[in-house]
Symmetry: C2
Subunit: 393 residues, 2 copies
């Protein structure tokens, strides 16, 4: 069992759960990072006594350093990168929100740390650059997304393997099957979707998550990003990654092997489950998640999803990180614009389509190139958002 971890993005939903899991497992917290939710961060600092803390703003770092004299405070992207390279923690949990998460992801792997990854933008944007770096450094990536974590569990093997996800092989795999809750708008027609509000979109039927990821779930972009993430993480053809709508959220994903046998991972919907698996791996430790009760379980159902955004994401994953980075960046811009009521719900996909079509970049080979593609994709998306916004409102 590991002794010490750092938790980046500690005030977000995955961060909070990660701290709870670490506490249950008796793992010490070496460093924390958060954005601007300082009141929660202060509670976490008091409870976990980290040695290093990073916040977004210089002023917050300064204020906190008066209150907590024995802790070293850092701030901004640079602080986030520095905090990821500290030697002591065995695992860096990266649950930073959005593209910003790419910085600690690269820093942690560069420093040879095991990366427990909840931030999907970093791997969607960087693609094989991140996984190649992990291979070169001989370090591992532990997927925290419930779907990828499920697949990690299903792919356990005693075969020799080169995977960046520990202990797995995709040698005998026919396809991965990601399950999707279908989000709050499942079964609604385009005409009904046209005027849904941000308030409706963030009401997820099963998972209690942040606003951005709730909207992504409603648009199914989240599932598209997960296809990309799975393609890069598990090093598998994105057209071998299927999605099935499974509204009960009991099966978190499945693997179909070449011999047509399927393994599925199940648990009550609780982000603590995948975090427990990742932090205790390869052990499985008794914990406070609620066991499934098969005698009281609703029937498990499955249905086919709409495929347009999913296929766009598959195609992007084939094209490489310039395209997947453009999707992630333009989606982040579009979701923000939707949450700020600058564009409508269905415009989100329009913005992504536009950015993908306009994206003429060469695939990146370094973090610097990725940052450039991200930033230019955002400009393209912004252009489109302003155009829509002018016409609609």
């Amino acid at each position: 069992m590991i002794n010490t971890i750092s938790v980046l993005g500690s005030t977000g939903s995955v961060g909070v759960k990660s701290l709870e899991v670490a506490q249950k497992l008796g793992i010490k917290i070496f460093a924390l990072s958060a954005g601007r939710n300082i009141s929660l961060l202060e509670k976490q600092i008091s409870l976990f006594s980290p040695k290093f803390v990073c916040v977004e703003l210089f002023e917050d770092a300064k204020k906190l350093s008066y209150r907590f004299k024995n802790i070293k405070f850092l701030f901004g992207t640079k602080g986030l990168q520095e905090i990821s390279t500290l030697i002591e923690p065995e695992i860096v949990v990266n649950s930073v929100s959005g593209f910003e998460g790419i910085f600690p992801a690269f820093s942690a792997i560069n420093a040879g740390k095991t990366l427990a990854l909840a931030n999907k933008e970093s791997i969607v944007s960087s693609g094989s650059v991140l996984t190649k770096l992990a291979r070169d450094k001989g370090t591992k990536i532990l997927p925290l997304d419930s779907e990828h974590n499920a697949i990690w569990q299903c792919l356990q093997t005693n075969l020799k393997t080169e995977s960046v996800v520990p202990g797995i092989s995709v040698k005998n795999v026919k396809k991965l099957i990601l399950t999707a809750s279908g989000g709050p708008f499942l079964g609604m027609k385009c005409s009904e979707l046209e005027n849904v509000t941000p308030e409706e979109a963030v009401k997820h039927p099963v998972w209690n998550m942040g606003a951005k990821i709730s909207v992504d779930s409603a648009t199914m972009v989240n599932k598209g990003l997960e296809i990309i993430e799975a393609a890069y993480l598990f090093d598998i053809d994105p057209f071998k990654i299927d999605v099935t709508i499974h509204t009960e959220c009991v099966i978190h994903s499945m693997v179909e092997f070449n011999d047509n046998s399927v393994l599925a991972q199940m648990a009550n919907a609780d982000m603590k489950s995948p975090i427990f698996y990742a932090l205790a791996y390869p052990k499985r430790i008794q914990n406070n998640t609620k066991p499934l009760d098969f005698s009281n379980l609703n029937s498990l159902s499955f249905r086919k999803p709409e495929n347009s955004i999913l296929n766009l994401c598959r195609k992007a994953a084939i094209l490489g990180n310039a395209s997947t980075c453009a999707i992630s960046a333009s989606n982040e811009m579009a979701v923000n614009a939707f949450l700020q009521k600058k564009i409508k719900f269905l415009d989100i996909e329009t913005v992504i389509d536009y950015a993908m079509a306009k994206c003429k970049f060469k695939n990146a080979e370094t973090l610097e190139e990725i940052i450039k593609i991200d930033s230019e994709s955002r400009s393209i998306a912004k252009e489109k958002i302003e155009e829509i916004s002018k016409n609609e409102f």
Copy 2:
């Protein structure tokens, strides 16, 4: 991939499927054994050209040896034992029906052969004697029962392990969950079960199987024997083995780990699936089983089974092989008596209860002691069957 196997019990349903699978995988058949279905056996001999063949009766062996000059024929239990010890085949598939299967099981393992096991009576009767022998000889047992095969698939690990089933660990396991179709009489009350006929009992809703195992499925004794089998095979406390009724027969069994995460193995109900897994292990080879189609799948349901016979079997597994052997032997006798209409359906459990209560044997440590317990248990069962039969008919 292996080159050569022997298939014992080749004319039974698992035997037939094993030959089909071997053919698809390009595996040669070194030896066959069958009981009295000589016409099917002749076809199999012509198709697979084995070097050795064993049948039940001397006369059949004699007749066949005139027709097939280049094949060595054997007969009876001794022939079955001899055929299991031949050096050439890498795996001995034991799908012999009933207690008789214990002889080739011990012989094969004694000869250091990998045993693919469909005959559950051999492990239920001998318990840890068989698994200890396998450990001493450094050989492995590959479970062919769809439930145990499913658990084998779910337990794959990259941890070091001493298990007789290859590549698995039960270190982190909270419980095994065997799924049960519920058989043809699911949901019927005792009063309705009283007069069901052998013809009704052998009509299994999903699996097409032999008469004995169909009746075992209808009484749920089959599931009780599977609990015992799983306890011995996976070396796990029988009270950590649950059963859930799952009428769709898509999930073939599950494992709940200490962290409350569940892995389930799914496939369309087809005995070829577990056989493909066992014979191709650790590879998974494309084959002619039908893949699951999640967009057209019925909802998967679960419910609690009646527990009396299951708990009796769990208790027997705790007591050891004298008790589990008595259950298996008395059940075999009772099912035969039921099929011959000497006793009624509900009497089967009465006979088992009686044999269990009367069983005062010390646990066996050798095959000879097991044979003695089996034979005396049959006498006890016979006694009860005759008593019931006199009173009822």
